[in-house]
């Protein structure tokens, strides 16, 4: 597919650009955590089910009830309209000064029985922010945070405090506990690593 350039200089440029570029080791885990928040499969299946032709026998009273139900659903949808979970990805959500924005913490620990998030935003109490296990041992939790700098750690199986390997380490870790730093600026972040 690639045709080499006749110009040696351009060929050298292309050759240099084809070298591998480093990427975060948790990149795949972050992407999968984001896509699993809005699986298209269910939405597509529901849409296809709705598009399938089918015959319904409805009595006049039932028809009235269905019409009221549909109207209710539409109103409820308008009332509860919020950004889709996927739109919380770092590049898509911005928080105005002082407003809280959801930050997704992601941690890969396939062998863990439980993982919780503890940080200065929750009084370092692992009971307050348990993480949910998703496929392949990925644990996630969303935390609304106002712009600022926070320290945190993952608590594995209720006892081991582990710093986030993909985030900067806090200097002068509190109580000798390994902790990481997340800075929430004008945009929400996804933070995460693996065990």
């Amino acid at each position: 597919m690639s045709e080499p350039s006749d110009d040696p200089l351009i060929a050298r440029v292309a050759g240099e650009l084809r070298r591998p570029v480093p990427i975060s080791p948790d990149f795949d885990a972050r992407v999968m955590a984001l896509v699993r928040r809005a699986p298209p499969g269910r939405a597509v299946r529901a849409w296809e089910w709705l598009r399938e032709p089918r015959t319904l026998a409805v009595s006049p009273l039932g028809g009235l009830a269905m019409a009221a139900g549909v109207a209710g659903l539409v109103l409820a949808g308008m009332w509860s309209r919020q950004p889709s979970p996927v739109s919380r990805q770092p590049s898509a959500v911005s928080a105005s000064a002082g407003a809280q924005a959801p930050v997704t913490f992601v941690f890969l620990a396939p062998d863990a029985r439980s993982v919780a998030l503890a940080g200065d935003f929750d009084g370092w109490d692992p009971a307050r922010l348990p993480m949910q296990r998703e496929g392949s041992g990925l644990w996630t939790v969303d935390v609304p945070l106002a712009p600022g700098r926070y320290q945190y750690a993952f608590v594995v199986d209720g006892r081991r405090f582990i710093a986030d390997p993909s985030a900067p380490r806090a200097t002068g870790d509190d109580f000798g506990t390994p902790t990481s730093v997340v800075t929430v600026g004008g945009a929400a972040r996804a933070a995460g690593g693996s065990l």
Binding site: I10, A38, A167
Partner: protein
Amino acid sequence: MRQDDSDAELVQRVLGGDDGAFAGLVARHRDRGIRFAMAMLGDAADAEEALQDAFVRAYRGLRGCREPGRFGVWFLRILVNRCRTRGARRRTGAMFVHDEAALERAAAPRGDDPEWREEIERALTRLDALQREAFLLKHLEGLDYEEMARLTGARIPALKMRVKRACDHLRVLLREVDDVRAE
């Protein structure tokens, strides 16, 4: 992911409800994607976010991939658009990079000749964005002009002109560097 899974099989599995199969597509197209995004945007944090954004959009719109066997080209189109959006945003407002790990990675030397690499990246940033995009699609991704036209929506003569001007500009910028290094 099984090693013998083709893109088409992985796409079909995702559409069939096996979300985990998407990880196979990410693993297969991640390295090529970050290479293009990095060359296009010149910033590691921006490049990763554009690529992440592209994968999420690809997942959500996977049913629109009419030729699953050519997922790579379809995905590249999404990535090109994400890079355009991110590049435009960067031109109109200050970017706020607070991912220290990404900054460290960006500063890490790559390849045998990090200075030459830096000069190339610097020269690329000095190209017009559309010329840079056309140059990278042609000389990095190795697409032919018909494919580039389908992917970008631009006409072939316009694309040829963009590539030519990008090459001319790079020759001027990088020959200066070569001359200085040869002294």
